[in-house]
């Protein structure tokens, strides 16, 4: 019997400190066994359980894209016991990865459509995966206009700044980067909260346009009415939720919203689905 609780062993290949507060680090992981790497086939929007023997396991969104081969990438906020320990680990250390877990953004449904990616703070990780995936030469023709609205508190709190700069220069993706505030006189992008920038920059909503939203609850709460005003259809508003999780496979019982388990039936839900679920998240 396949044991769904058993993580694959991986080695930390590289650690990148992402933000000026040093609270967010990206970990590039490589599988110890090639067989495991083959088995780990994922789609942007999914997450995995990261294990440190003796400390525990945490659910983290996959920041790499399946189009990037040979490694997995996770950007981790230092919050609790396991994440603090991971932040103190070094390249070469061994840990575990279990997954991929959960569902993913509905890429097949979005084919031939416009996609607006809206992210805030450190929830940008699976959105990075999504952007890399969409921009892959094999995938880009499958989608129409792509917009990205991404905000952080300050310029130094933005993730993946080198990549953001590269995407900014391309003509097949519309980047709308914003910060809550900055004293940098050379800052050449937007200043303002994500809902405001969405209101100003997002294309109007229709059956042909999807919005993927991932961010802190407060951002989601204020972005949703903006999208309503812009005419976005609730079936086309895609959200990724967070919950405290343990098993990651819909068995241990804690991450439910109504009868749905966020770890297995989610983390991705449409707003239409959420409208019919208890408001308990």
């Amino acid at each position: 019997m396949q044991n769904p609780y058993l993580p694959y062993p991986v080695r930390i290949e590289e650690i990148i400190t992402e933000t000026e507060d040093k609270n967010l680090k990206t970990f590039k992981l490589v599988f110890l066994n090639l067989d495991d790497q083959e088995k780990f086939t994922y789609t942007p929007g999914q997450f995995a359980g990261l294990s440190v023997a003796g400390k525990g396991e945490i659910p983290i969104g996959i920041a790499s894209s399946p189009t990037e081969k040979g490694f997995l990438m996770f950007t981790i906020n230092k919050v609790g016991l396991v994440t603090s320990h991971i932040h103190a680990m070094k390249a070469g250390d061994i840990m575990g990865v279990r997954g991929p877990l959960g569902n993913w953004y509905p890429w097949e449904v979005m084919e031939g459509k416009n996609v607006v990616i809206i992210g805030g703070g450190f929830a940008f990780t699976t959105l990075r995966s999504s952007i890399i995936y969409i921009l892959d030469p094999d995938n880009r023709p499958k989608f129409k206009d792509i917009h990205v609205i991404y905000g952080a508190r300050t310029p130094g709190m933005l993730l993946y700044r080198d990549e953001l700069a590269r995407w900014e220069k391309r003509d097949d993706i519309h980047m709308h980067i914003t910060v809550d505030g900055t004293d940098d006189p050379d800052w050449k992008y937007h200043i303002g909260f994500v809902p405001t920038i969405t209101d100003q920059q997002a294309p109007p909503g229709n059956e042909e346009t999807f919005a993927i939203i991932c961010g802190p609850p407060i951002m989601i709460k204020f972005t949703q009415p903006v999208l309503d005003d812009l005419g976005y259809v609730h079936d086309n508003i895609i959200m990724s939720l967070e919950m405290r999780m343990k098993c990651g496979i819909g068995i241990c019982g804690r991450c439910n919203i109504g009868k749905e388990y966020v770890c297995k039936d989610g983390p991705v839900f449409t707003l239409s689905q959420l409208n019919n679920m208890p408001k308990e998240y």
Partner: protein, 348 residues
């Protein structure tokens, strides 16, 4: 259907033989009340009871269980790699399980055995088990199994049903697993099928008549989840609750667990422990946000899960077998029968 007649003097002898083939689990009186545990060779299950304090779920799903193991010794090549750990899944027999607890395993199985994922620990324990049920001649006032799609003589989830017919036992064989256990036991005296069936039927009817508490669940599935969730009665239902979690620990159908790592020196294990939706930590995010931060939300979760979410998810009735433990042991007298009626009769 085969029914075996067991002279009460032969009961112990048969069990003695079973130790050669099975690990035996049964109710044992510890301090003032009964609980299930593994019996040591020669020990007899104590069948002089109404029901065990905790349910029989621990025989398949222990309160604490080792899942994986690892070493932190960096001199070892496999250090920090989580690995499978040896577990004993040799045949086991659970003697004296009440029909409610046996039915509960069937309800819980829907959670551990899904099309996408199989919980190997729960399933291997369950598959290794032969359940020898013990029919209830004298149910108590909090029992409501007959309206929870179970019953004092229910055979659901059982391999054998043991009936106490005063001067002798009748043992009804329900499955092949049950037949195998009987063969190993050496109990051979086949009862006259008509007489024995009649005897069981009479006792069954008498027991069922003693159960007067009833619940109605017929309208639960047609209720709108969001409306039940917003129903006005939850604050009142939860008012007296102290979130002690007793209801979830004694419940045969509560399955929630936590996963934790434990180390001793350089060796360690990953284990799981029963957890409870009554505790705020159950859903507390790392950020400090908690989707069920108030006790009302947690009490509502427990009842909504058992009486609505489960009903909708599996289409197989409520996640409750009517054992009445949560009613008997609740320190503030919260009664699932009353809450079930509130929910079933609720009109938005």
């Amino acid at each position: 259907m085969n029914i075996i007649n067991i002279n009460k003097q032969d009961w112990a002898k048969g069990l003695e033989r079973l130790y050669d083939f099975y690990r035996l689990f049964g109710p044992v009186k510890q301090d003032k009340f009964h609980n299930f545990r593994e019996l040591v060779k020669g020990e007899l299950p104590d069948l002089n009871l109404v029901n065990t304090r905790l349910s029989a779920k621990s025989t398949v799903y222990p309160q604490s269980e080792r899942l994986l193991e690892f070493t932190l010794d960096e001199n070892r090549e496999d250090h920090h790699i989580l690995k499978e750990t040896h577990k004993d899944y040799s045949p086991r027999a659970v003697i004296g399980i009440r029909p409610c607890d046996a039915k509960a395993f069937l309800l819980v199985k829907a959670n551990f055995d899904t099309p996408e994922y199989k919980d190997p620990y729960w399933l291997q324990s369950y598959d290794a088990s032969t359940f020898v049920g013990y029919a209830c001649n004298a149910p108590c006032s909090t029992c409501f199994c007959t309206t929870a799609v179970c019953g004092p003589f229910s055979e659901q989830g059982l391999d054998l049903l043991l009936v106490d017919a005063q001067d002798h036992y009748l043992l009804k064989i329900i499955t092949q697993k049950g037949e195998k256990l009987v063969a190993a036991s050496g109990w051979r005296s086949t009862a006259d099928s008509d007489t024995a069936s009649h005897e069981i039927e009479t006792l069954k009817r008498a027991a069922e008549e003693k159960i007067t508490a009833r619940i109605s669940t017929d309208k639960l599935k047609d209720k709108k989840t969001t409306e039940l969730f917003e129903a006005p009665f939850w604050e009142e239902v939860a008012f007296a609750c102290i979130n002690c979690g007793t209801c979830t620990y004694v419940c045969p159908t509560c399955w929630c667990f936590d996963i934790q790592d434990e180390t001793l020196g350089l060796s360690g294990i990953r284990m799981r422990n029963w957890d409870s939706c009554m505790f705020p930590l159950f859903t507390l995010h790392g950020s400090g946000h908690n989707p069920r931060s108030t006790k009302m939300q947690r009490v509502r979760q427990r009842f909504m899960h058992k009486l609505k979410y489960y009903v909708d998810k599996y289409g197989d009735g409520i996640q409750c077998v009517g054992c009445g433990r949560c009613i008997r042991h609740c320190p503030v007298n919260i009664d699932i029968r009353r809450v079930c009626d509130l929910m079933n009769n609720f009109e938005a």
